[in-house]
Subunit: 235 residues, 4 copies
């Protein structure tokens, strides 16, 4: 795939991911009559289901990272060329903000408005560290052994992580920045974003190191393995 196609895929996929996360959060909060558990359950199921669709639909083009720490981890493993890291990360952030605006348009909200949702403190930073550790672990663990199941494993993990972390598991710096621009269910106060992002980087680094030791030898050269992923079907 050409870089142009891959960049478009990363931007589009991250935009749709944010539209799902923010849009389903708005819908859930409006309908849930104040029962936050029902709102979060709908938000989590919508996000997991959306991830399955988005990763399956764009993974063969760009790898479907939609997440700067995933791109950094893949580059560190040698699966993404160094010169492509910045374009990937830039378009992920741009796409994330575009997705927030798209969701706001669907629900009659202003394009952007800063969140006032406080999310800070050691318990939430620890949560983001664990959440991102788990996400990178799932990606490396499954893509080195059976890449065809990675989309399902990632989506299932995120559904769990919405519930088992006190931060509801952002686990993604581009998502974190863009969610600072929505004062709705999924928002985070801009001042709290840096703490989340630092924790995410730490968790991703730990998982990358540990899982490259746990899964030392890909069954095939990395390039061939990636190529298989990109054109894989089940026949």
């Amino acid at each position: 795939m050409t870089l142009a196609r891959r960049i478009v895929a990363e931007g589009l996929g991250t935009a749709l991911l944010l539209a799902v996360v923010v849009g389903s959060g708005i819908m859930a909060e409006r309908l849930a009559s104040g029962n936050v558990a029902i709102a979060l359950l709908a938000n989590a199921i919508a996000t997991g289901a959306g991830l399955i669709a988005l990763i399956l639909m764009l993974g063969p083009i760009s790898g479907a990272h939609f997440n700067p720490v995933v791109t950094l981890s893949e580059a560190w493993q040698g699966n993404v060329a160094g010169r492509e890291v910045l374009p990937y990360m830039a378009v992920q952030v741009i796409g994330a903000f575009a997705g927030v605006a798209a969701a706001h348009g669907m629900f009659g909200e202003p394009l952007f408005f800063a969140s006032q949702h406080v999310r800070t403190g050691p318990a939430q930073w620890w949560s983001e560290g664990v959440a991102t550790f788990g996400l990178i672990a799932v990606i490396i663990g499954t893509s080195r052994s059976r890449p065809a199941v990675t989309p399902f494993a990632v989506a299932a993990y995120i559904v769990a992580a919405y519930w088992f972390t006190s931060s509801t598991s952002f686990a993604n710096p581009a998502v974190t920045l863009a969610r600072a621009a929505t004062d709705t269910f999924a928002g985070i106060r801009p001042a709290d974003a840096p703490g989340f992002i630092v924790a995410q980087l730490a968790g991703a680094a730990a998982a990358s190191a540990l899982f490259c030791w746990l899964y030392p030898a890909p069954r095939q050269p990395v390039a061939a393995s990636l190529d298989a992923l990109k054109t894989a079907d089940y026949h």
Copy 2:
């Protein structure tokens, strides 16, 4: 497969899809004690689960479009013969109304009665455009790379789309027309249907153009690929 079998499959599948959407909406609203979030969650899960079953059970015969914009997009890509477009679309609309009547029969409602549910305005039209863009994107993206996962990707996408759009994502002109004939949870006022359908056509056209650029070269000739889909199993 003969055209007769394919037409029967499209009509039956669209009828069962509407029975699931409308029937589960009636059941959900009756049981939910006024909590619309719980009703929509049940409605979304039932629809997604039903889609998995219906696409797996009829996809090998007709492609399991159940949706005129899917048929138009497939025809534009050269995957459906031009002379089959009208029969497909006609039976989809007929099947959709039959499904609404079947659901009404299961819940003791009149065969048809016009909806009074207002669904209009730019936010909902934008929602329908985005929703249909995403649906066609999922179908083209997965069926050109790994057709065996398309049923799961489509169902997961629709579950997400019930929640991340303010219109709850009809994304289907036949469904839109038939849902105008039910004054229950899933209904839409007949006067509002044309706005939805225009938005759906626009979204489908945009996705068809973009995703044929993103996935330019099917790995095999289209006819062979379709044939593989129709008889695919996982061995």
Copy 3:
């Protein structure tokens, strides 16, 4: 597989299916604080998840019918020997009652007690007919084209059918008889069971006829195809 193993598998599987249906119904009703939508959602998700596990775990031995109308339909198609129909159906009924007793034991209820839950009338009979039509359609449609997905398609269908039918979709005469012996969430008044069973037989017959026309030519001889199902894995 020997007939002894297959009979044990059918009995055990039907027992566990009833334990899931009845047990999760009791748990759901006790916890749901009177919100029947939440109770039915939990009941449906538990049943669908249980079906995935049970069909995957026992399908390679006995076909995992757990349902007399499935056995009758398979026998009519020539996939089950005529002399095995009665043993299959007998052990399904015995297993179903054992499963109800097992569930009652888990929740401190008497072994059996007749249901007082009224489920009757044309709307519910029509529901049972449609529900069983759909179940047999899913089984024939998927097992003739891609048998590896049948367990997932059947489970997904049942989740949808709990919601889109007014009867909550028993779709199984053995299940219907045994659920008459539990005066809990999942029960049915004994006097109402015959109406359900007649509707189930009619729906199953219609689906068997239609889907044997829709899928006329199995890709391989039936015996080989069944054998493939029984030892199938995804490699």
Copy 4:
């Protein structure tokens, strides 16, 4: 895989499993406004989704037992060397407690605090016996016929078992011990743990005996089969 890698994988996986179970229980109870059905639904969905991710991500390394009775059953079948049983079981217990502490850290609770949640009596012991019987049955049944689906079958089974047993299905001695150290939604009074563990051992033994009779002949030598599982993908 070296024993070191397998031990790390078992410890890490069990820790993350407990973090999911306990963490999602805390989150669910805090948000559910006293509706225990919603809390248990979120807890069950999070646990099932987490299991899919964890088993897919670590199964190729250690088999992803995360459970002493699974290790015992595998050793009895000759799939795990006798000298590895104690290290597996030890690291599972250590990991389980570490996971509880990790979850408590995410929600600002003390590292450990004894549960006061009473879970005892014949109905709950019978529940644990049935629950563990079913879990071992699913593992043996699927891993001897189609090991690629085992992660999905196990996760689906546990979702069902949360609901169809009155004990909410611990089915795991390491999990039982560690959940005695959390006075939150998922806890169990320390004095009640032994009764659960005895019932789990009985259920596991019964399932191991029955399912080794039901599935007598693995299609390939066990070592080769395990090896296939460990490097399986779907191509």
